[in-house]
Symmetry: C2
Subunit: 277 residues, 2 copies
């Protein structure tokens, strides 16, 4: 049994930038009483094009900062950091529970579509490590997986180009070799393996057949968080809504402007606390 | 008069990533006997979305490393770092001559097109500081300047999407409000205020009228370097070609793959030396 004090502590959510706010949003919807503290390592984003050694180093520093804020559970909302460094982070932060987004995303996709042809859209670093492929093969040995690096779509999401001809053209440019032509892969399932991509869902949907399922990690990760808290009796039980604290390592103005799109609500620079790692 | 030893020292070229290789290429073509050492701060790119304080800190560290390699002159090939930190870098590194790319780019554009309507395409950080606008107004008070942040075009250049419908669609999306419609700005001169953009020159040209001049900083910066070396009697006089040394703070594989496009020649990961700042 955990103390009342511990259940009052916040859940920490870590990302390289603002994309993880899509995961935070899902956690907040699922667990509205929980206090949340989010850290975006905006001074060093993007992680997706960096080497594993750099990603690991940055993630260790950022998560140590969240631990120093007394979080009761930590979510690594960045796919790249989850793919590169989840084991190391779990070891470094033990006994703090640390949850990544790759495994929940893989589970959601294989449950939605058993024995299917999956296509993972992700950053270069996530694709290079093949983390989704490994997770899916373990969960569903009859599944097939390919992974596709869509680096430009990260910038596209940050720029807010979520709809219109150009937005669709960029998505189509990446997907065309996979969906057009007799010898194409023709995926039955798309996995949005980067937290930036859910806000491009409309553009992605318009490019693929309506029979293709599209899965992201946000909802399933929130469900895993809920289960983990329940198992450890760490849920905050209260009638009041939890608080939300937003931290960034650089650029409060940009965080507020771009992050608002991902969180689905207006943010002001004054809402963001700058921290130095 | 400088010693023979000093003229044998390399020219240092610093950028946040690989884009500055377009400037390095111009210097090498203009001054083939010079030894060159290039440092791309790939562990912390892009600078264009970071705060001025972070850009200054990173640039000070990177240029201090180049100085420790004994460079005789330093080129800040990154537009963002030039816009944010040139004065501070010149002070910190004095008496080492330090040349930025903003002033040469502004000079090239105003000489090519006096009293014109200029449009600067750049990163968010460069636009926020208005460095090109100030330089142009100083050089040509009759000129008009607007600046446009085109963040997605940085990722586009790195992805190598230099031609084709999608490449043109992205460029057109940014430029449309400036060139279409009776009340648009209708620039007579485009300034490529980010070292990534010269490789998108073809796509940019296809979107604007043939009467619009397109200027980048690379050639003029190389000319400024040549003049500065001559003034200080620091030119390397030799029949042998200069050597080229490439340093990066992260990701030799990616540097080689993406950098080759900017340098215009094939690179291998083994050509890149990783350094820790």
């Amino acid at each position: 049994m955990s103390s009342k004090a511990e259940s009052e502590q916040p859940i920490g959510v870590f990302d390289s930038g603002v994309g993880g706010l899509t995961v935070l949003k899902a956690i907040r919807e699922r667990l509205p009483a929980e206090h949340l503290v989010y850290l975006g390592d905006t001074a060093r984003l993007p992680y997706g094009t960096k080497s594993p050694a750099s990603v690991l180093r940055y993630a260790l520093q950022a998560t140590a900062h969240l631990r120093s804020r007394g979080v009761k559970l930590l979510v690594v909302a960045c796919n790249t950091a989850s793919a590169v460094a989840l084991d190391e982070l779990q070891n470094a932060l033990a006994p703090l529970p640390v949850i990544g987004v790759v495994e929940p995303g893989a589970r959601a996709a294989t449950e939605a579509r058993p024995a299917a042809r999956h296509l993972v859209l992700a950053t270069e670093a996530t694709v290079r490590l093949g983390a989704y492929g490994k997770a899916i093969q373990r969960l569903d040995p009859k599944a097939t997986v390919r992974e596709l690096a869509c680096e430009l779509m990260v910038a596209q999401a940050e720029e807010g180009w979520t709809q219109g001809d150009t937005a669709i053209a960029i998505v189509r440019e990446y997907l065309r070799p996979m969906i057009a032509g007799a010898n194409a892969y023709h995926p039955e399932s798309l996995i949005l393996g980067c937290t930036h991509f859910p806000i491009l869902g409309g553009a992605i949907r318009s490019v693929v057949s309506p029979h293709v399922s599209i899965t992201d990690s946000a909802g399933t990760t929130a469900a895993v968080v809920a289960t983990e808290l329940a198992d450890r009796a760490l849920e905050r039980v209260a009638n009041t809504a939890g608080t939300l604290r937003l931290l960034a390592t650089d650029g409060a103005n940009r965080f507020a402007r771009v992050g608002g799109t991902f969180l689905g609500e207006q943010l002001a620079a004054g809402d963001i606390e700058l921290v130095d790692l």
